[in-house]
């Protein structure tokens, strides 16, 4: 049985190799390291703690089952996990069941909405983040919101905002750059 304190000193590449060899302790180290950040990202997209935790669990399960598809030359491990988490969250949001559940729970007077506290809040109303996103121009912030939190494609954003696709592309590129500068 591997000691997790020895494991945590290994490089990410080594850890992923161990995961590929079906060593659960290696995945546990990666979970401890990245789960909190991933949960934070996901929770702001799905607005329900229970669903967010489901997504987090599915993300690491997918990482375990698809470990061989991770290529260190193509980018960092966190980015790989982040994209899995984000896509899983978007699948959930777009799933018929999620939308139906939201509708059923919202429309009847006996029941709560899925997460009454979060339902009306913009995902940006979290401590520490509010300032940063508010520093973006409103239009950039809206684009980030649609793309990042709601999973719209650029074509869908163009439709939604009645904007030419070329303009959307240009503005999105500006938006992510600005956002990045705020963190640099």
């Amino acid at each position: 049985m591997m000691q997790s304190d020895n494991l945590s000193k290994r490089s990410e590449q080594e850890l992923m190799e161990l995961v590929q060899q079906q060593q659960p302790d290696a995945l546990a180290v990666l979970y401890d390291r990245y789960a909190p950040a991933l949960l934070g990202v996901v929770a702001r997209m799905v607005k329900s703690d229970e669903v967010a935790e489901d997504v987090l669990q599915e993300t690491f399960l997918k990482a375990w089952n698809n470990a061989t598809s991770y290529d260190a030359a193509k980018g960092k491990l966190y980015t790989w996990l982040y994209n899995i988490a984000r896509n899983t969250a978007l699948d959930k949001i777009k799933s018929k069941q999620y939308r139906q559940t939201a509708q059923i729970l919202a429309s009847e007077n006996i029941v709560h909405t899925i997460d009454a506290q979060h339902a009306e809040q913009l995902p940006t109303d979290t401590i520490g983040l509010t300032d940063v996103l508010q520093q973006l121009q409103p239009q950039h912030r809206q684009l980030i919101d649609l793309m990042y939190f709601e999973g719209y494609t650029q074509a869908e954003i163009a439709d939604e905002l009645n904007m030419p696709l070329g303009t959307v592309k240009t503005k999105l590129r500006q938006a992510v750059q600005h956002l990045r500068r705020l963190f640099a």
Partner: protein, 280 residues
């Protein structure tokens, strides 16, 4: 575009976020990062910034998420049958409904044994149903259809396997309901109530299919008044009903009832059609 132009274009950020609409552009950058050290370095920096961005709103997940994850991983390593109905991703959505406190690995429900038990129960109840339906020619047709659907038994077992996991949650309260009219045809009716999230579930065995214009409706009797808990159709697995408000659940439902209503249900029950009643 020169590397510097790429860096100030915003395209690299979109590349990392997998938001480039154009797959050709993506392949282009895949190549560039191998040949242009400036671009490779910039992409790496973007990835670091992405992580720092997320760290701003880290949230510590509850311990049970990791536990369940590691249990599923352990199970997937030791599983030898390819046809295991309790596959990891299928269970995922439901395992978080289990008890929130720490469960030692030893008391983890053995899904295969449980699924096997459910198969026995399912077969037993269909055999009993066959006995009771023997006089009814129409029901005989239903029974034949049931036999022909034996390949869907695997799906049923999977659903039951998940249900059993949920039912082992010690928070769940079980309210057994009885027939109001002695000649009613169903075998058993149970309401499961989870006081920690006010979720209601219903399990009724062999409830006859109602006429097309009618539907069964569940009611919770709260403070003497019936409250709509949702309409449902006969099913062999646990049916999720409406969730109760915190107020209704604090008052504690005194009883649960099932009536037969016009399809779609009604805001008030038709008490003459009361089929099942169970006191809390």
């Amino acid at each position: 575009m020169t590397p510097q132009e790429y860096i100030s274009s915003g395209l690299l950020e979109l590349y990392v976020l997998q938001q480039l609409d154009d797959p050709a552009e993506q392949r282009n950058i895949d190549q560039l990062r191998l040949t242009e050290p400036l671009i490779a370095a910039e992409i790496e920096q973007i990835e670091r910034d992405l992580y720092r961005y997320a760290q701003q709103f880290e949230q510590q997940p509850p311990a049970h998420v990791k536990q369940q994850l590691m249990q599923q991983i352990a199970a997937s390593i030791t599983t030898t049958t390819t046809n295991d109905p309790s596959s990891a991703t299928h269970n995922n959505a439901h395992t978080t409904k289990q008890a929130q406190h720490n469960t030692p690995v030893r008391s983890l429900p053995n899904y295969r044994a449980v699924a096997a038990a459910c198969a026995v129960l399912f077969l037993a109840s269909s055999m009993v149903a066959a006995y009771f339906y023997a006089e009814n020619g129409k029901a005989q047709q239903q029974l034949n259809a049931l036999r022909q659907r034996s390949d869907t038994l695997t799906t049923q077992m999977a659903l039951m396997g998940e249900d059993m996991g949920m039912l082992r949650d010690p928070n769940f309260r079980k309210i057994v309901m009885s027939k109001v009219k002695p000649d009613a045809k169903f075998m058993s009716a149970i309401v499961y109530f989870n006081p920690s999230n006010n979720q209601l579930y219903l399990m009724i065995d062999n409830l006859p299919k109602p006429p097309a214009d009618k539907q069964y409706q569940l009611w919770a009797l709260v403070g003497g008044k019936p409250v709509d808990a949702g309409v449902f159709d006969p099913a062999t697995h646990l049916i999720q009903m409406k969730r109760m408000t915190a107020q209704a659940s604090t008052l504690q439902p005194e009883a649960f009832a099932v009536t037969l209503e016009p399809r779609g249900g009604k805001p008030e029950p038709t008490m003459e059609t009361l089929i099942i009643l169970g006191k809390n």
